[in-house]
């Protein structure tokens, strides 16, 4: 008989299983379980009830009195697979009337699945291997990490914080550093920082994956190694501020790193820094960027970190740009479908979810869909191209860079 080990589940998670009222508020707005597939087991309520049932079968009063019951392996495997169909977007946390912190529940649930040999999914294995061997999920050599900086070295001098002391450490992140379609994100961020006169540098080729992918898929132990290595680099560089342009890196460094080590510098997302630079007058946006833009709130920036106003204030500061909202915005924003390892393990599902968000953008009347996360950018751009749509995809720093006086 297979005995489930629940010692990896947080006390609070186990408490929350009982606190779920089964109301189903989370089921209709769940992007993967409710909206894209309509499969109860993928929804928060479905997962909670099934896992609770399994826990009771082996740990409840009846199990104490009559002995634990066997849980069919197929049912366990199905729960695990369905659990990995969740993007951990946090929409369920927004709507839960019982105030359950579902984000930490799902992350903890994956940790539990890994501990019981039920996770991650096979498709994640390659990414995990790549992160462990190359320090990035894209199977790219470490030496290519700072290639983006070389492309713009004539206009922007990017310092190496491990060699030169800098006020600000720009943590680029794997996707912006390696994906040729998103490299502009790193380049434009660097341009904006230079334009505002920010003394910044990067970790160059020494920068490692932030560990977000590992943490979201439940591989805490593997992530710990990456986290410790990056924290060591932060200590060596000792900047006063760490800025990220990736919402996933931001969440990870700001929320997860302090659980595993000490991060002395303040950690901000680039939207927070740029917003401050605009307020203080260090950054001026003079050039007009004509168009109507709508902002897609990345889950890791919005629901996970409560940053909703900063990107909107930046967009409003861009001359010529008109900001319109999608019907579902801020805490209610639909997920792009890529997070939580879904795009890797279930690409078709990710595409279905991104198509829904693309429709949201089209309905808003905008001609530009703007976001501030490389993963959302990738996913939504693919969704726009698949349609095809009249709406174009943009990174927020791209628009800021266009509006900067440097041209």
């Amino acid at each position: 008989m297979r005995k489930l080990d629940i010692s990896g589940l947080d006390v609070l998670s186990l408490m929350r299983f009982d606190a779920c009222t089964r109301c189903g508020e989370c089921t209709s707005t769940c992007p993967t379980g409710g909206e894209a597939q309509d499969i109860e087991l993928v929804t928060p309520r479905g997962k909670i009830l099934k896992l609770k049932e399994f826990c009771r079968m082996q740990y409840g009063l009846r199990a104490k009195l009559l002995g634990p019951k066997d849980i069919p392996e197929a049912q366990l495997r199905e729960l695990a697979s369905r659990s990995y169909e969740c993007t951990i977007c946090g929409q369920c946390k927004t709507v839960c009337p019982a105030h359950l912190d579902t984000i930490s529940m799902w992350e903890n649930m994956r940790e539990f699945l890994v501990a019981n040999g039920l996770g991650p999914m096979e498709a994640h294995a390659q990414i995990v291997k790549s992160i462990e061997n190359y320090g990035n999920p894209w199977m790219q050599p470490r030496t290519q990490r700072s290639r983006w900086a070389k492309r713009i070295e004539t206009e922007v001098k990017t310092k190496d914080v491990l060699k030169e002391k800098c006020e600000v450490l720009y943590f680029v992140g794997c996707t912006a550093a390696y994906d040729p379609n998103i490299r502009d994100m790193a380049e434009n961020t660097a341009r904006v920082l230079v334009n505002a006169g920010v003394d910044f540098g990067t970790l160059g080729n020494d920068e490692g994956c932030c560990g977000s992918t590992l943490l979201r898929t439940g591989l805490q132990e593997s992530a710990k190694k990456m986290v410790e290595k990056n924290i060591e680099l932060f200590e060596r560089a000792s900047p006063s501020l760490i800025v990220t342009s990736c919402a996933g890196c931001f969440k990870t460094i700001k929320q997860d790193y302090p659980k595993m080590g000490v991060v002395r510098p303040k950690v901000v997302h680039v939207t927070q820094l740029v917003n401050e630079l605009l307020d203080s007058g260090r950054l001026r946006l003079d050039k007009r960027v004509e168009g109507t833009a709508t902002f897609h709130d990345p889950c890791h920036l919005g629901r996970h970190n409560g940053l909703y106003d900063e990107p909107r204030r930046i967009l409003e500061a861009v001359p010529g740009l008109r900001l319109v909202e999608m019907e579902r915005n801020r805490a209610e924003a639909r997920c792009c479908g890529a997070g939580g390892g879904v795009k890797t393990a279930f690409p078709d599902l990710a595409q279905k979810v991104s198509a829904l968000r693309v429709e949201d953008a089209e309905r808003s009347g905008a001609d530009m869909l703007v976001t501030s996360c490389p993963f959302c950018y990738q996913s939504l751009k693919a969704g726009l191209e698949a349609k095809p749509s009249r709406v174009s995809m943009h990174d927020l720093m791209e628009l800021v860079s266009m509006a900067c006086s440097h041209g």
Partner: protein, 315 residues
């Protein structure tokens, strides 16, 4: 490592584990004995039922059901305590946590915790924004349930301990407004909420509602207890049972029902009183094993979430 792995069995068989386990069961036993003593020592001079053996049977079942409730709750909490984040055996963790939680609450946190409970668990601030109908439904059920519980405590203390005359006399203000009107009002709140819930679950069937046996049983159990209470009151009024002889309009819903009941039904008042009492007691015992346990778990989870240390940078 599974629960029955050899290393864990070794740990569980250790002296410390056995000591924790024994201490927890002694605590449980002490709680049940204390509750039994209170229940058995009260005189019940003003209880409506005339057959003393029915009252004694009811009290015995209440004690047994409360013991099952406490035991079920304890085992649910032991499952919580099996998770990570604390040290020692689940029994030891729970033993250490109970006095800490108590101290935490009484040291100035009680009002804050009560305010959070009132806003997030009782008033359901979040649900109000999303669905007015479901918010009203839940508020009616929970509000009625809590009011009924508070009224029960007030009545028991004033009747059986203080022997407060206005609560006993047929036209006393407390009898009219608390025992007659108060209970009817709280019961009506619950009934209205439960009927909305039943209508949603069994007639309208919106997509988000998932009806399985535990959902249906919980709802029907509550409905049976509440409706049973009004039927009992109606029979009491119709049959002119002691305590139901005058000022019927204060017991507005029971009185309305009594109009449709023949006075002869009063002959079965004691039996129906016992059935209603036993069902109410069984409902208490059922709570830890049903979805109704969220009444206990949700406020605790909200408070635990609010007060547990967060990582730096959490929103």
């Amino acid at each position: 490592m599974g629960i029955y792995s050899s290393s864990l069995i070794q740990a569980r068989m250790s002296g410390r584990y056995l000591k924790d386990r024994l201490a927890l069961y002694l605590l449980f036993l002490a709680a049940v004995v204390a509750f039994s003593a209170i229940v058995l020592l009260l005189p019940y001079e003003t209880v409506y039922v005339s057959e003393r053996s029915y009252l004694e049977l009811f009290l015995a079942v209440v004690i047994a059901c409360v013991a099952v409730f406490v035991l079920g709750t304890m085992y649910n909490m032991l499952v919580w305590m099996s998770g990570k984040g604390l040290h020692g055996s689940p029994e030891g963790r729970l033993l250490r946590l109970l006095p800490r939680a108590f101290r935490f609450l009484v040291r100035g946190r009680l009002w804050k915790a009560t305010a959070v409970f009132a806003k997030d668990a009782l008033y359901l601030s979040k649900l109000k924004e999303r669905s007015a109908s479901r918010w009203s439904m839940h508020l009616l059920i929970l509000g009625g349930f809590i009011s009924m519980f508070v009224l029960d405590i007030i009545s028991t203390i004033s009747l059986d301990i203080l022997h407060y005359a206005p609560m006993i006399e047929e036209d006393g203000w407390a009898k009219l407004w608390i025992r007659d009107f108060g209970f009817d009002f709280a019961g009506t709140m619950m009934l209205a909420g439960l009927l909305i819930a039943a209508g949603r679950r069994f007639v309208l069937k919106p997509k988000i509602v998932r009806t399985e046996l535990p959902d249906a049983v919980s709802l029907l159990f509550l409905l049976a207890v509440v409706v049973g209470g009004f039927v009992l009151e109606g029979i009491g009024i119709a049959g002119g049972i002691s305590g139901h002889e005058a000022n019927h309009e204060y017991s507005f819903l029971g009185y309305a029902l009594s109009l449709a009941m023949p006075g002869s039904w009063g002959a079965y008042y004691d039996q129906i009183w016992l059935v209603h009492g036993l069902m109410s007691a069984l409902l208490i015992a059922y709570i830890p094993f049903s979805k109704l346990f969220h009444m206990v778990a949700t406020p605790i989870a909200i408070e635990a979430d609010r007060t547990s240390p967060k990582a730096v940078g959490s929103p």
